[in-house]
Amino acid sequence: MTSLATQHPTDHVHNARSDARSRAALSSPFMPYRPAASSPFIPTDVDPAALTWAETVAPGGYTHRVLARGTRIRFEDPTGSACAHLLLFNAAAPGERLNTADTVKIPWQAYLGTDHPLLSGDGRVLATIAADTSGHHDAFCGTTTDAATLRKYGGSAAEGPTPSGRSRFLLAAAKHGLDARDLPPSVSLFQGVRIDEDGALRFVGSAGAGTQVDLIAEMPLLILVANVPHPLDPSPDYAVGPLRIHAWRGDPTGPDDERFTRTPELTRAYLNTIDYAQARGL
C-alpha cells in the first residue's frame, strides 16, 4: 500500500523530529501571519510596524483575540462570500459583553454601518464601526446552532464540512475560560438582512467581493470571530469564503472626533466608556 506514511521517515525520534521540522516553510491559504507585519495582504493605508494581528480565517473556521483599547480592526471579505459572526466582551471583565438589542435600540437604527456603536449591556461602547464599504450586515439573526445546521445541511459535526457558528464560538470562548452561558446573541458582517414592513426578514446577501469593515476597540476587547454561512443564507451549499483580518495600534474615540458628538446617545456612551477606562487606568 502506498500511503502518506511511506513519504515520512518517522521510525525513530530523531527522524520524526526532522520530518516535523521539514514542514516549517509550508504555507496555507488559511493561517495567522506572525509577526503580523509578515502578512502578504497588509492594507496599503496601514503602517506595517503598527500591526498587531494579521490572519486569514478558513471557511467554517474561527479565531479569537484580546486587543488593547484603541486598536483598529479591519475585516475584509475578499471573495464576497465571507460571513464574520462577532462577539465582543470587555476583556477586563467578560460579564460585560455585546448586547444586540441595545446596539440597535440606543442608536435608533436597525442596520449596522459607519459610526454605529457595538454596545455592551452596561451602557458602554465595546467597539465602533469606524468605516464600512459593505453595508450588508445583520444584528438580528445571530449565528447558526448545531440543530439548525443539522436540519439545513444534514450534518453539524464541529470537525466536519458544515460546522455551526455556535460550535465555533464555544471553542473560541473556551480558550478564554468562558462557556455556553457566556455566549449572547451575536452580530454578523458581510451578509445583509433587511426587515420588510410586515416584519419579514429578507436576506440580501453580500455587497460583493472586496468590501471591508473597520472597528475601533473602545474598551480592552476580547473578540470572538466565527466564519460560517449566515442563518438565512438560502444556498443549500455551505459556501462561505475566507475572512481576512488585520489590526493595528490606534486611538479610541475621543471628544475631538467628529462621531463623539454625532448623536446625544453616542456622546453619553463614549463618556461612560471613557469614565470607565480612566478609572481603571486603561
Partner: protein
Amino acid sequence: MTPTPLTIPDAAVPGTTPPAAVTPPASTVPVGAIFAPETVLDPSGPLAEGPTVLDDTVAPLGPWSGIVRAGQTLTIVDVGGNQSADFLVYNANNTAERYSVPDTLAAAGNAYLRTGSSLYSNEGRVLMRVVGNEIDRQDTIGGACSKESNTLRYGFHTEYQHACRENFLTEGARYGLGVRDLVSNINWFMNVPVEADGALGIVDGISAPGKRVALYAEIDVLVIVSNCPQMNNPCNDFNCTPLRMIITDTQTETDPA
C-alpha cells in the same frame, strides 16, 4: 381523569431529524483527510466477557464520550491500526477528580501503560484498570495535539487544522467542562518512546487493525475520547481511521468478598 399522553413526533424535536439527504451539500470548509480507500479495517470485538451495554463507532477526526459504570469494561478497538485514541477519564460524580498522569506513572514505576496498569486520579484513587491490552506498550506521556501546539511543532500554516484539544473542548462542553478540566491524557495505540539520550517523540506505531485495549471501571467514570485528526506526525500513520467503543457489563469480575 386519565391524562392524555403527550406524543411528540420525531420531526418536531429540534435536531433529531436531518433532512432526507439526497446529496451532501458542497462545502468550502477545509476538513482534514480521512483514511485511504484501500485501508484495512478490522472492527474486532469486545475484549471482556459479559453482555454488551453499548457499541459505538467513532468517526475519523471526531470526539466521543460515555459513562462507564463501576463494574463495566470499556474495550477500545483500533479499527484501522495505529490510530491514536486520545483519552481522558473523570469521576462521573465529581469531575474535579480526573485522570492524573504523574500519579499513574509514579504508582506504576513505569512510563508506559500495559495490562495491569491502574489509571489513577488526582486524588490518588484508581478510576480504571487496564485488564486487556494487545500492543506492547501504550502512551501517556505524549499528550494531545492542539491547534496551538501545532504552530510550535509544524508551523503557523497548521493552526487552522482540527485537533484533539478541539474535540476535548467540544465534547467536554456537553458536560459543562472547559479548559480547566483538560489535563494530560492517555493516547491509546500511539507510540512515544524515550530513547537512551532522552530524545522523546511520536514515532511509527506498533499497533495494527483490530488491536484492542480493555479498561475496567472501578467507579462510575466519564470517558472523553478524541479520535485524533493529526496529519503532521505518525500518530495516525498519516491515515485517520475509525475507533470502536464497546462497553460490556463485567460486574462479576470484582468479588466484594
